[in-house]
Symmetry: C2
Subunit: 325 residues, 2 copies
Amino acid sequence: MELRVFLDVQWSPEMLRHLESLLLKEVTILPDSSSADCDVLVSGRPDADLIARSSRLTHLLLPWAGLPRSTRLLMMDHPHISVHNIHHNADSAAELALGLMIAAARLIIPADRELRKGDWSWRYRQEGRLLICGSAVLILGYGHIGSRVGRAARALGASVTGIRRSAVSETVEDGVRILPAASLHRLLPYTDVLVLTLPLTDDTVGIIGEQELGLLHEKSVLVNIGRGGLVDEDALYRSLSSGSIGAAGIDVWYRYPESEDERTCTPPSRHDLASLDNIVMTPHMGGGFGTEALEMERARQIAGSINALASCGSMPFRVDLSAGY
Amino acid sequence: MELRVFLDVQWSPEMLRHLESLLLKEVTILPDSSSADCDVLVSGRPDADLIARSSRLTHLLLPWAGLPRSTRLLMMDHPHISVHNIHHNADSAAELALGLMIAAARLIIPADRELRKGDWSWRYRQEGRLLICGSAVLILGYGHIGSRVGRAARALGASVTGIRRSAVSETVEDGVRILPAASLHRLLPYTDVLVLTLPLTDDTVGIIGEQELGLLHEKSVLVNIGRGGLVDEDALYRSLSSGSIGAAGIDVWYRYPESEDERTCTPPSRHDLASLDNIVMTPHMGGGFGTEALEMERARQIAGSINALASCGSMPFRVDLSAGY
């Protein structure tokens, strides 16, 4: 089927040429939004006017995985347009999750900081540290990213359990036990490493609060690469500073810079997490934004989804607006 | 067979009791070195007098993996005593290697340091960073630790090649290509991540020098958890500071504190590696010294080796003094 596509993205000419080279000949890329009469709109935060103007639009394709709140609200008013996402950065996010897990468990941040000053003390402070080998890893949100984290953790000798909202009873996938969401509180006391790879929705906001962190033991490691709001901000600070959990590796935050100027002066939390040795703090870089391999994979997956629609009449990875992902 | 064992170690009473609980009843632990007439001596750096005094000694069991130079030289004078080691910390070292690999590839150290000051800039500096997924990982010294690193790297989507001194031709083990040492120079230009898990011997000192680092590309990542002397110190500094390689994660060094007092004031290199953003520096903590799980595993493996001798007449993991490991 012939498809007209408008790309509401800020890509380099190389990326655009790369994408065009991957598209089937039935697909036409429209040159600008003035002729926004497209079948497919590639956009993460589409303009309401643009959506209203595009009378033949049937598919909105997000050029990433997460559904922004504003996009969700807008698209709920246009139920005839289906919304889809891509998972081009699941590998990148899973790798960062594993890096944060080990860096937090082994206190690599203070060990590096002090060795740079000639101080080897952290070599002799490894009592109570956690090995991933032999530990119980619980992945909350066992999807594209979570399953990759699980595979690597299993390769390191961990036993891995996944929690998935859609699971109704216990199943096993690739050696990983998958359980429904209701199992969370029962599992936490036996969890050594808790990894959050959930989207932020009305159901998941604050899913890890005072009570849940309190169920973890004092050597446990928390990794959050989902969204900051999954973990209660006050409870996170209290559990790390009191040592009621062992360490955390956090890539997603409570405050973000809202302009380019703010990029150098926006503390990511209202608490003084920066003073703690048992946290690894990365600036939301799980997605690996800008790495060449990732941008090529983004173009490949966008082309794959558009080509699937052109050739088979359906686009993969539809987002459920009511669930929020 | 009845065995008399002397433990030349400084362990807590709990560790000693734990070890005793694991030993077969044929095994007697001698109370002190004055009656050092033992069959098995557990010691990493045995005293020359003690070795000379112990007329029935047949086995020296190192309570770790690496053969110290002084022990090697001493034991070469006592060829009737076989020397054995344990690999209790291979999991711990492999985990640190993987953590260093990802932390170096993603520049977690400067990203964390700046985010603690409210600066998110490293989020926008990921161009040219390497993903492990899809990369070519070369493990130099594919043994107890290397095979574990390889398994985890494969789980992350890397293709893994191992180099092993004893390999005479290409073989495949668990999906990993194993090649002889002579293949190194041919492989380096196609290597994205080079992991060193070799012992330091006359054959391996400086095995990665100016020439070898020069064969790696500008995004490549070097991980060294073997011994500092495997990598030429000057060449390491030059390649990192010039950007001819992408990043490095280094756990083993050129200078070590020689006393407790020196632990807080011993720069690990004569070069200013501490000023570089593209290095992760950890104070020789791959072994995970002191973690409870690891000390339990150490006791378990020592007991296992002694019990094997008592019950089957032979002890596993004999060290080749001429090779040095």
